[in-house]
């Protein structure tokens, strides 16, 4: 839980009514396998306040994407409940927008056409086109609006996918490693962009990453997923509230301590045989 001190210290008391509250209540997900049931997530409890930025950190294969898909209503948990603004998630959730781990753009549409998919239903044509142009400009792809996904790089496709999610003006923004395919510099730019967008319209953000520094730059809270036993189910191992307003000084001692703490948290998995990356 975020301490009330950090919450009130933020200059985002004016939380847009678009931002949604997300509550995960003992969420579990297992997959039936030939060799028996494969329990991926177990007993995940999380309360995300409207406008909060929560970053999910965890080793590869620990169930981060599975968790995000459940919040988006694209996957149904085998146990527990997920509520958005007090209403249970049932089927593809209209209050969420998703930037998937893969860009998943429609190859026959231009980048602009793909971003337009994200626009809320019923956006008038002219306003929609304006917004698509604006978003493509934000992610640095203004000159590529007419290109097909096949004609742009993986990182450009990923930024298009981010723009498509932002186009939705969502109550909850679900970002699954949104900067994974980007070079270091573009990555920092896109992190800043996300923070700018969030500052302008503070929506709730649930972001998955492998990168501890990225987590510490972006998050109000970092949720660390991990296992207790080597082949046991994954649950929330630790929740860390990151102090200070963004942008944060990368060299600060507090962040250094938190980084060490988080790396240690990820490293415990390594000793137990799971890969930390």
């Amino acid at each position: 839980m975020p301490s009330s001190a950090t919450l009130t210290a933020r200059p985002r008391a004016v939380v847009d009514d678009r931002a949604s509250e997300v509550v995960l209540d003992r969420v579990g997900r297992s997959f039936p396998m030939r060799s028996g049931t494969h329990v991926v997530l177990h007993d995940v409890n999380l309360h995300i306040s409207p406008g909060e930025v929560v970053v999910v950190l965890g080793a590869s294969g620990c169930g981060k994407s599975t968790l995000l898909r459940a919040v988006a209503g694209l996957d149904t948990p085998t146990s527990g409940r997920i509520h958005i603004d007090g209403e249970p998630v049932r089927g593809a959730e209209p209050r969420c927008a998703f930037a998937f781990q893969e860009p998943l753009l429609l190859p026959w549409r231009t980048l602009a056409g793909n971003v337009a998919i994200g626009l809320p239903r019923g956006t008038p044509g002219e306003e929609g086109r304006r917004r698509v142009r604006e978003l493509l400009g934000l992610v640095g792809l203004a000159d590529f609006a007419g290109h097909r996904p096949r004609a742009v790089s993986g990182g450009m496709a990923q930024r298009t996918s981010l723009a498509r999610a932002l186009a939705r003006n969502p109550g909850v923004l679900l970002l699954d490693e949104p900067f994974g395919a980007l070079d270091a510099l573009t990555r920092l730019k896109m992190q800043d962009l996300l923070l700018d967008v969030h500052a302008a319209a503070p929506t709730t953000v649930l972001l998955v990453t492998h990168d501890v520094d990225e987590a510490l730059q972006l998050a109000d809270r970092v949720v660390l997923l991990g296992r207790d036993a080597a082949d046991g189910p994954v649950s929330i191992k630790d929740v860390i509230t990151v102090p200070d307003d963004r942008p944060r000084d990368r060299g600060s001692a507090v962040l250094a301590d938190l980084r060490a703490h988080l790396l240690e948290g990820l490293g415990v998995d390594r000793h137990n045989g799971a890969r930390a990356r």
Binding site: A72, A97, F98, F100, L104, W108, R164
Partner: protein, 270 residues
């Protein structure tokens, strides 16, 4: 965008377009083999290798064409056969798209229908003829039904398979952005499967011509298939050859029309 593969680099000329992509070369190149065949035909008949009943000369086939044309029969045969193909193809392909979409999109209908359809498909086309004649008499309906059966299966199979193989992640992405039912179909599933659907249509058209001849050979008083049997019975090999040439031309022409549509579809959707 004019990158050149290594294979074609030898034939590149000053303009940077490989020779094999040049329009004039493609037209002339495609005409070479037919011209050579025609020449061979002319030479063998002029040398008297075959009797005129076995193989009449190109000139006499041409004369037969003019003769039939003047009597108004040629246009009549071509028109009625083309009409049967077009109507049968449209009906069969339309039903094929509908059934293919049903089976490709709904697991339940796949379970219920796909086995039965596959069994019906396994029936050789000519096996239907007696039954169709018994039920629908020797009229237009029986012929068009047979052609529609022929056109149905290639379309059905390609549509169902293509829809089933649309990347599920792409469909899920569509769902995540609020697309459902017909909008999801129109925005994601249909465009994703369109290229293979169009090649299914081309297959179906070829099948339609095949089934046309089957239908007209067996029971007909007009059309190119009738021209074939009638000429055979009267020993008019010149007309027989004419019918074959016409079938080749019509088949190629209709396929080319669909090819234009296919190129448009691929440019637009792939």
């Amino acid at each position: 965008m004019t990158s050149v593969s290594i294979r074609d680099r030898h034939s590149v000329n000053a303009g940077g377009v490989p020779l094999t992509s040049r329009r004039w070369f493609r037209v002339v190149g495609a005409a070479l083999v037919p011209a050579a065949l025609l020449l061979l035909w002319q030479l063998t008949t002029a040398a008297g290798v075959f009797s005129p009943v076995q193989l009449p000369s190109p000139a006499s086939v041409y004369a037969a064409a003019l003769d039939l044309l003047q009597r108004g029969e040629l246009g009549y045969h071509v028109a009625i056969s083309s009409q049967r193909v077009v109507v049968g193809f449209l009906i069969g392909a339309g039903l094929g798209v509908a059934a293919g979409a049903l089976v490709g999109l709904s697991r339940l209908s796949e379970v219920l229908l796909s086995g039965t359809v596959a069994a019906i498909r396994a029936v050789p086309s000519l096996a239907w003829v007696p039954l169709l004649i018994l039920w629908l008499k020797i009229g237009e309906t029986s012929k068009i039904t047979l052609i529609a059966i022929g056109a149905f299966f290639p379309v059905y199979t390609t549509v169902a398979t293509a829809l089933r193989h649309v990347d599920p992640a792409l469909v899920e992405a569509g769902r995540a952005f609020g697309l459902r039912g017909p909008t999801l179909f129109a925005t994601v599933q249909l465009p994703a499967s369109l290229p293979s659907v169009v090649s299914g249509l081309r297959l179906a058209l070829a099948q339609a011509w095949l089934f046309l001849v089957a239908a007209e050979l067996i029971a007909s008083a007009m059309g190119l298939g009738f021209l074939l049997t009638d000429s055979q019975n009267n020993g008019r090999t010149d007309r027989l050859l004419l019918a074959i040439v016409l079938l080749a031309l019509l088949g190629k022409l209709s396929d080319a029309l669909l090819g234009v549509f296919e190129r448009w579809a691929l440019r637009r959707w792939a």
